[in-house]
């Protein structure tokens, strides 16, 4: 082909601000759109902070999850203060005195307004292995008093620090959610793409299977499966099995999203155009279909995480999922199962608040991602 003068009029130049928009990569456009969703951005930050706290739980928490203290049972949350005797002070807590109500024989805690315990950072405390590797005693914060403790969220019936246990529990609960989603992602992607790509008999079969699973009441099924796990098994193994059980039901939603996208993408003109250029199936799937699906899949996965977390929490709460000594939010909530303990120590509900916050954050995040997933919508 020879190239001579152009056949059609050349279009005029445009401003450079628009040029940025015109040459922005798809993920940049998704990020720009996501950024406008304030609640989703806040949720993302919250989840990142929480994730870091969970990873470094052993360092951030002032104690270890199993260190109990008989003289500190059902202690209320310590109030962090900055004003002592009318003057500004570095952050501190007051020491508490343990008393017993003479009539009901209940243990009461009272702040000793004379004894100031300043919060210190990088203090030496109980032994632990940093990230399970490096033995150390360094904790992010604490109070240096042998008899007093700082319990930001109070303690439980054995005097264990709830804040510490909450952070350790975050590791288990969050990772169970993520691993569960990963499992259901594998299942959902595989079955969804088979259904969407091959269609016909495969599609009908997988669709019927999905309908079937959706028509089974989740919790009873989970409960049945979870109850089948022997009590004596290794807690870690049980944990993995529980996540698999959760994902057995959770994959249908992902499979539906994947199938739907596959079906609509397969009929897109640009996929046909690529095929007519001689593109192989592999190229069409990897270069055209998967990139177009990734953002949707990520959004769907994000929205599936809270389901998993709620499932784990519910099962453990009922005593069918994870069991002590494993610390998860569901396990922690077992302590708050009856009215008596809640009215005595309402702070035992704090793992529940953590669950709500995380579930909400994932929902907002997922909503934001879903809205931003298609930056080319008309």
């Amino acid at each position: 082909m020879t190239l001579e003068a152009t056949a059609a009029p050349v279009e005029p130049e445009t401003a450079s601000r628009e040029e940025d928009l015109y040459t922005a990569k798809p993920w940049t456009l998704i990020w720009w759109r996501f950024r406008k969703h304030k609640l989703a951005v806040a949720s993302l930050i919250f989840m990142i902070v929480l994730g870091i706290m969970a990873i470094f739980a052993d360092f951030i928490s002032p104690y270890t999850p199993f260190s109990f203290s008989k003289l500190n049972t059902f202690a209320p949350p310590s109030v962090v203060r900055v004003i002592h005797d009318g003057s500004l002070h570095r952050p501190f807590i007051y020491a508490v005195k343990r008393k017993r109500d003479p009539e009901t024989a209940r243990v009461l805690y009272e702040e000793d307004k004379t004894k100031v315990l300043p919060i210190e950072f990088f203090v030496k405390g109980q032994d632990y292995k940093f990230l399970g590797l490096v033995p150390t005693q360094m904790h992010l914060f604490g109070v240096s008093d042998r008899k007093q403790q700082i319990n930001l969220l109070g303690t439980d019936s054995l005097g264990r620090d709830l804040f510490t246990r909450l952070l350790y529990g975050a590791r288990v609960t969050l990772s169970a959610g993520l691993i569960g989603v990963a499992f259901s992602f594998v299942l959902g992607l595989a079955l969804g793409s088979i259904a969407g790509y091959y269609g016909g008999w495969w599609d009908s079969g997988i669709q019927r299977l999905m309908e079937f699973i959706r028509s089974v009441p989740t919790i009873p099924l989970w409960m049945g499966l979870a109850a089948a796990l022997p009590v004596a098994w290794d807690p870690l193994f049980v944990y993995v099995l529980i996540t698999i059980i959760l994902s057995l039901i959770g994959w249908t939603h992902l499979a539906r999203v994947v199938r739907g996208r596959f079906l609509s993408l397969r009929t897109e003109d640009y996929v046909l155009a690529s095929r007519l250029c001689g593109a192989s199936e592999y190229r069409i799937v990897t270069k055209h279909m998967l990139p177009a699906m990734t953002s949707y899949i990520i959004a769907a996965m994000t929205l599936a995480v809270p389901e998993m977390i709620l499932g784990e929490t519910a099962l453990s709460f009922l005593g069918l999922g994870l069991r002590p000594p494993v610390v998860s939010w569901g396990v922690l909530l077992q302590d708050a199962q009856n009215l008596r303990s809640i009215s005595l120590a309402p702070w035992l509900l704090s793992p529940g608040i953590a669950v709500v916050l995380v579930v909400l954050a994932f929902n907002f995040l997922g909503d934001g991602l879903r809205d931003a997933a298609d930056p080319y919508g008309h």
């Binding site: 309908e211 079937f212 959706r214 028509s215 089974v216 009441p217 989740t218 919790i219 009873p220 099924l221 409960m223 049945g224 499966l225 109850a227 089948a228 022997p230 809270p306 709620l310 929490t313 519910a314 709460f317 009922l318 005593g319 069918l320 909530l333 708050a336 199962q337 009215l339 809640i342 009215s343 309402p346 509900l349 529940g352 669950v355 709500v356 916050l357 579930v359 909400l360 929902n363 907002f364």
Partner: protein, 328 residues
């Protein structure tokens, strides 16, 4: 239409078979079996049971047969004789134990579904027609909270609130002092003071989701040309909204009735445990924990059957309400 119902009903049969099989597999999953548990019980009671006796019992109950044969024995007893087997722990036929509780579960689930609809539809329509208004935001926040708070936590909190502020002990379905007494006004009032918590808990969870679905459906429908056509006929906004897009947006709603049932049953199980209600939940939990296989299996089976039937009914309702499906 009739053909559709027949076909749809026929399709439910293999589903039911599959559901029952899964239920059976689940109750077979725990290591050991009915005889192991029974022998352990006898031994605990001080009786001496030899290995041979144990093996004989196993043979007697047919526990050495292949899984499918056992399954057939179990399911045929249920289908042909209504015999669900015996509960080990209660030492009574399963059917004696479950029907009252199932009925109550159904009542509570149905009531909360009705509540859910009464709340969710008008609110969803309002939110969609007044998008980004103050109340739309309020309802959105409510929707997210309802989605975020697990049922059991909400039940706990409500119970706690009722206890602290109203000094009510709302656990159970009736207060202990009315237990076993004949029904009179006082007992009914007492029951009403208890039943609102499970209803609120279940309806909140359901309504939160449905409000968002309804709102999204309505926003989709409101954009469609037939709405403009309706306005161009001179109808008032209220008439247009309630006669046209709401009517269309309700269709996917109807189709979710069937899926709402499993969700409600699931929610009911946990809520009932927390609130100590005499529904299926606590008994199922107990049965699972004690490996009371036939009791647990029957519960799972019957709850699943209910949901399969629920899905069937909602499919038929959907076809009936949407002419596009009816005639295709």
């Amino acid at each position: 239409m009739l053909g559709f119902i027949v076909r749809r009903t026929l399709w439910a049969i293999p589903t039911l078979a599959f559901v029952s099989f899964i239920s059976f597999v689940i109750i077979q999953l725990p290591p050991g079996d009915f005889v192991t548990a029974y022998v352990a019980q006898l031994r605990n009671g001080g009786e001496y049971v030899t290995e041979i006796e144990e093996a004989m019992m196993r043979a007697q109950y047919g526990l050495n047969d292949p899984l499918l044969v056992q399954y057939w024995r179990w399911i045929s007893a249920i289908i042909f004789h209504g015999d669900f087997g015996r509960s080990l722990e209660w030492n009574a036929p399963v059917s004696d134990l479950i029907w009252d509780r199932l009925a109550l579960t159904l009542i509570i689930s149905t009531l909360s579904m009705v509540f859910t609809w009464i709340i969710a539809i008008p609110v969803g329509v309002y939110s969609a027609t007044r998008q980004y208004s103050f109340f739309d935001y309020i309802f959105t926040i409510f929707g997210f909270l309802g989605k975020g708070i697990p049922d059991f936590l909400l039940a706990l909190i409500l119970m706690w609130v009722a206890f602290i502020w109203m000094n009510l002990d709302v656990g159970g379905l009736i207060s202990p002092q009315f237990e076993g007494k004949p029904w009179d006004t006082a007992k009914i009032i007492n029951m009403l003071s208890h039943i609102w918590i499970p209803l609120v808990v279940l309806a909140t969870g359901g309504a939160a989701g449905l409000i968002r679905v309804m709102r999204a459906n309505m926003l989709d429908e409101l954009r469609k040309p037939y709405v403009e056509t309706a306005y161009a006929q001179g109808f008032s906004e209220r008439t247009v909204v309630w006669r046209y897009p709401v009517r269309v947006a309700l269709n996917p709603f109807i189709s979710t009735v069937g899926w709402a049932l499993p969700a409600l049953f699931s929610g009911d199980v946990i809520t009932a445990v927390v609130l100590n209600l005499p529904t299926t939940g606590p008994l199922l939990l107990q049965a699972l924990k004690m490996q009371d296989m036939y009791l647990a299996g029957s519960f799972i089976l019957i709850l699943s059957v209910f949901t399969v039937i629920g899905t069937l009914v909602s499919d038929i309702l959907l076809a009936w309400s949407d002419p596009r499906i009816r005639y295709s």
